[in-house]
Point group: C2
Chain length 289, copies 2
């Protein structure tokens, strides 16, 4: 997905929100904001929005000297998700269609996105999970996911955020784990999941975990390591979680299923759905509810 002109004002809001979250120093807030303006003035709009997210959060880490400003937020999200996990695990397994319930919960977990939703509360996360148990997704799209996963020899599951990755476990447990590899970011960026979060979520014991070698809040292939690029090319099914992975991979890759919650009007319009909607997109950017 390209960067739309509407994204630009949102980049500035994100740069300011992130700076304020990371430090109380107003000189750093201003420095990061001005540097973001300068970058945006010349940015190639054919790049996806997470390209700018990557630049902003590099600036922020450099300006604050803090390599992981969202560490506490990630821990809190993991703790909350782990406290909800046992009950949700039971509810998945006792439901009429465990895969559909797990998909619904995993996508609802994508609400934990501190790039888009700076002021997200723990109550809102709990509510999103509860809502996911009571509203169903398009069963055709879920069944297509089931068939594609059953037929695939080599599945990559691209995780998105900390906390959310615990809810991904509910879905991964319903899929053919023996043929699946979990992929996390190569370095901290916003609240995106890294190896630590996969470990904390209990996923390292379930599937092999690799990282993509990149600090982009999405999957920008040219920013990823050569080994991940090779792994991506050889897999025959990619399950890409989250809006950042949709924004960076949609349109280009025919072996990808996108699972995400649309959190801004631009991504929602691109995917043909409404803001707040949980979507399953098979390969192409269209909305399959």
């Amino acid at each position: 997905m390209r960067t739309y002109l509407e994204c630009v004002a949102c980049f500035l809001r994100q740069a300011l929100d992130a700076s304020r979250m990371a430090t109380d120093d107003p000189a750093i807030h201003e420095r990061v904001l001005r540097a973001t303006l300068q970058l945006a003035a010349d940015m190639p709009f054919d790049r996806p929005p997470p390209w700018m997210g990557q630049q902003i959060h590099r600036l922020l880490r450099e300006a604050t000297g803090n390599p992981d400003p969202y560490r506490k937020i990630k821990q809190d999200s993991n703790d909350l998700a782990l406290s909800l996990y046992p009950d949700l695990h039971k509810r998945v397994n006792s439901s009429l269609n465990p895969l559909a319930t797990a998909v619904s919960l995993a996508i609802a977990g994508n609400v934990i996105d501190f790039g888009c939703l700076t002021n997200l509360t723990q109550d809102e996360i709990r509510q999103a999970m509860e809502d996911a148990l009571h509203t169903s997704l398009d069963t055709t799209a879920v069944e297509k996911l089931r068939r594609r996963a059953a037929a695939a020899r080599d599945i990559l599951y691209l995780a998105d955020n900390a906390g959310e990755i615990v809810f991904d476990r509910l879905l991964i447990e319903q899929l053919p784990c023996a043929r699946m590899t979990l992929v996390v970011r190569g370095a901290p960026v916003i609240n995106d999941a890294t190896r630590t979060d996969a470990e904390v979520a209990g996923l390292s014991a379930l599937v092999p975990v690799i990282d993509n070698g990149s600090d982009a809040p999405g999957t920008i292939l040219e920013s990823c390591s050569a080994s991940f690029q090779a792994r991506f090319a050889q897999s025959d099914l990619v399950i890409a979680k989250g809006q950042g992975n949709y924004e960076t991979l949609s349109g280009d890759h025919s072996h990808t299923i996108f699972l995400f919650m649309a959190k801004c009007p631009v991504a929602a319009a691109d995917a043909g759905c409404r803001v707040g909607e949980r979507v399953i997109v098979h390969d192409r950017p269209h909305c399959s509810r």
Copy 2:
């Protein structure tokens, strides 16, 4: 009022909204947006937000070759306001406190601000005027305005927007017209009132009308003509209508009464009131309801 870091994302939104209102050409939208980013990267944040508004709308007029992109919007606002004027005029004169009613209506007219509220509808304007008839302002602040106007020898009334200027007439009729001069912008910018609008509103027959020689959406004194600057310095009371005049004159001038509707969180916080609130500020930026 200085430019706050929050204003920057809003500048970008305004640049994009204004470009799209002025032309369907996406190349112009992108050109104006990039130029705004470049300007904002280096802007002095001790300048008020309308300083950037002035730059953005110069860029827009230059890029489109249209010296007055809001002409139709201004005409429509004037037409609507003139259609409401006769009834409102009667309601002012039959009210228990005609000055208070006129102040309330004049401030409500400040909703007609296409810089802040791009998608404002005629129904919303009608509703704002109706609301103003049923909710009262702080009577102490109104009585202080009455006393100060009665005591002043030379009153400048700084108009803000087209359409709104018709509602200003309701207030001007309640004030000592013989000692008052109406001031409009020196050139078109957004939907701000110029000499044409004062004429259409029927104000030219009531009070002398001058322009400030500037194309800023506010009153940036150093951008105004020398003759206006002299006139401003010699007056002993300035009644400044609208958020743009508040943003450019507040804090610096002890002989000014600000009447406006707070339309963004930044201006509302600066004035100590809520978004959507109609405020009277005597001289200093504090909220006197």
